[in-house]
Amino acid sequence: MTMLLNGIEWAFIIGAFIFLIYMIVAGLFYCIIFIISAKQLRRKFELDEKEPYEDLLDSVDTKPISIIVPAYNEEKGVYSSVRSLLSLNYPEYEIVVVNDGSKDNTLSVMIEKFKMVEIKHVMRSRLETQPVHSIYRSTIYNNVYVIDKQNGGKSDALNAGINFSHYSYICSLDGDSILERDAFLKVMGPIIDSDQQVIGAGGSIRIANGCSIERGEVMRIGLSKNPLVIMQVIEYLRAFLMGRIGLSQHNMLLIVSGAFGVFQKEWVVKVGGYRTNTVGEDMELVVRLHRRIKEEKSDSKIIYIPDPVCWTEAPEDMKMLQRQRSRWHRGLFESIWLHKRMILNPRFGTVGTVSMPYYVLIELLGPVIEFLGYFILIFGLLFSLIDFKIATLMFALTFLYGSILSMSAVLLEEWSLRRYPKLSHLVRLFLYALLESFWYRPLTVIWRLNGFIQLLTGNRGWGEMKRKGISE
């Protein structure tokens, strides 16, 4: 009996130890990334934004883009999405909506509202997809197309769009994302300037809930009062401002969000397009691109633009949010597992030796260890299995990892980009960040852990996502 109790006591102590070491290492890593990001952001502080892009507008050089919009049961929002895409500030682009076997009236809405006619087009099937039934083109807007095909999922729809696209750059866009007018100017600028060296770029995503949006344009930036939304805003700030800028600087960026990314088509086709049997298709593509870049010993890059260019609808209730987070974690795991050979492999440069391990240890295993920490903390204290001092330490580190990093991200945003105009915004964001470790973070840990469990039990779906519609 005493042996058993001793054993449990040891287990707790060892567990606590693992937790502590992990937190300290992870915390240090984040601090380094934070500093890299802060320097980068500060540089652009107060730069007259429109000036660098005026040249691009007049330029014939500006590479045309094919915007691919996968659509499944989007009859409510697809028209306004496409309408708002039509007012983008960019010389040449086409909009390819891919109707992925919708069961509702997505297709007929598009055909009717855009006066579309069927065209006979020879599609180059460079990527394998589910069969395409027909292709339509609008008679009022020459650059709007609809591909009607058999259902195959988001990746399959994107691949079909790629097959059809006429231009050398493709942009994958979610149906409910709103792009800023100058989004493409901002994203394509570095791509053009780099003389083809940059083959992929991700834009910064901000949360649209709470902003006033008219006819597909963000008129005024606001902050929702819903606590869940506020927390998500903070999370996005943290992820984008700190994680992505820092990693992008050294070509280690592994996530170009599925909500908005621009890629050079040839590269995407070269690596085989989007993968259809994963839920994290956006990240998986980027990992595969990095892999190919290193295998070819090319000096191509994938970068990230910190200037917010894309606004998206965030889930406002727990159930939806939970589903989303579990799904993301599953996708993360799948993307990494498929390319596990790259981990710690020097052949893949810093992506292999730094990024991948980072994503495995911190992003993927993070929830497991954090959960371990919570467990030990609560039960350890309850049953006096750990020392009070150690408990304080553990809690302090949890707080560091959660609230402190989030508070820093909020302040970093205010110090550099300042997209939230009101004083009350700053106050609300900071206070909620302060409280993060007490409620929100444990919740996300449980949800992500849930994703792991789903993987082990073989759950593979996307779940239903209710669209509210954010445009008036």
Binding site: E46, V60, D61, K120, I390, L393, A396, I404, M407
Partner: protein, 359 residues
């Protein structure tokens, strides 16, 4: 037994470092709170300044507009020296520049900027912050403050700009000023700049200086040469057609390809025989461009070649050939015929696609 001891020791080590770590965390919280209050205060101050600046703007705007439109002297009426006065003036001038058109007005904007902003910019050009230096450079270009030409030229020839973006903006500005020493230097220098910056420069030059560069096209590096060729296409300038046709025979395939693209844009050649070799080129891009040029020219003598191109091995070439044939007045008939009778499947497919093209 040993194991238990080492665990105890580790335990002890942690106990020692607890105050350190907890202390760090508490310090961080305090620091962050301080930063928070600082940023909050700063935001408040900035919002107030913005209010004052907007008020100032609405006061000076009619005065400045009066000057721009009627030429009335304003010196006596703008003596406030608030720090945001410069920003206010810049913004009013920028807005006016977009709103009020006309050379006289643009000149007056320059005069006004010279008077109130020039000295301010001298110090701003050397500011520690990159974004401020860039903004200053942008404004120097927008307001045509040519007094800075020599300074900028010096920075260019000594290659001592602090960052590559500044170097590029300096080049653009010197181009806007039509600064001839800069153009000379650009032609002579062994430095090769990226294509996009050459084009950026060319877009800002007036006819006289473009002419100068075209006349020296043999003396420049390949990238600059390509930029000049592309520029002729952008300007849709037929007067340089002979130069382009000469370039069609260049040994450099990139030069040939860029020249073909320009021919496509211009839609005209003086000597059709210059084009013929391209239909059989080993580079598929050249064959494709040949077809695209044919689409613009619509010459009967190339119909047969286009038809044979419908079975080319490259999809791009086949597609361009199909599009070209569709442009002929009897294109539909030809394509209909091919879609039904040609022996090559690719050709039939391509003809099928292009025959009913309403667009």
């Amino acid at each position: 037994m040993q194991f238990k001891h080492s665990i105890r020791r580790m335990f002890f080590m942690i106990v020692i470092s607890i105050p350190f770590i907890v202390g760090t965390v508490v310090t961080l919280i305090i620091v962050l709170c301080f930063l928070f209050f600082y940023l909050l205060w700063r935001k408040l101050v900035e919002l107030k300044i913005k209010e004052k600046k907007d008020k100032l703007k609405s006061k000076i705007q009619p005065i400045i507009h009066d000057y721009l439109i009627r030429g009335e002297d304003v010196r006596t009426r703008l003596i406030q020296k608030q720090p945001y006065l410069y920003e206010a003036i810049e913004e009013v001038l920028e807005d006016a520049s977009k709103l009020l058109k006309g050379t006289e007005i643009q000149e007056r904007i320059t005069v006004f900027a010279k008077l109130y902003l020039e000295d301010y910019y001298v110090s701003r050009l050397n500011h520690a912050r990159w974004s401020i230096r860039m903004n200053t450079l942008y404004n120097i270009e927008d307001f045509h403050l040519e007094r800075f030409s020599e300074t900028l030229m010096y920075r260019f020839s000594e290659s001592n700009s602090k960052s590559i973006e500044e170097a590029y903006q300096i080049m653009r500005t010197l181009a806007t000023f039509q600064y001839e020493s800069f153009l000379d230097e650009l032609v002579k220098t062994t430095n090769v700049f990226p294509l996009f910056i050459y084009k950026s420069i060319l877009r800002r030059l007036d006819d006289e200086h473009i002419d100068y560069l075209v006349r020296h096209i043999h003396a420049v590096n390949q990238t600059f040469e390509l930029a000049i060729i592309d520029m002729i296409g952008e300007r849709k300038d037929l007067s340089y057609l002979t130069t382009i046709e000469q370039k069609l025979q260049s040994e450099d395939s990139e030069v040939r390809i860029h020249s073909l693209k320009v021919i496509e844009i211009l839609g005209f050649v003086t000597d059709l025989s210059n084009l013929v070799p391209f239909s059989e080129s080993a580079h598929f891009t050249e064959r494709m461009l040949f077809a695209k040029v044919c689409r613009m020219l619509k010459k009967e003598r190339f119909k047969a070649t286009l038809i044979s191109m419908l079975s080319d091995e490259s999809w791009f070439v086949r597609n361009a050939a199909g599009e070209a044939l569709a442009a002929f007045s009897d294109g539909n008939i030809i394509l209909e015929h091919i879609s039904l009778t040609h022996e090559d499947l690719f050709a039939r497919d391509m003809a099928q696609q292009w025959k009913g093209d309403k667009f």
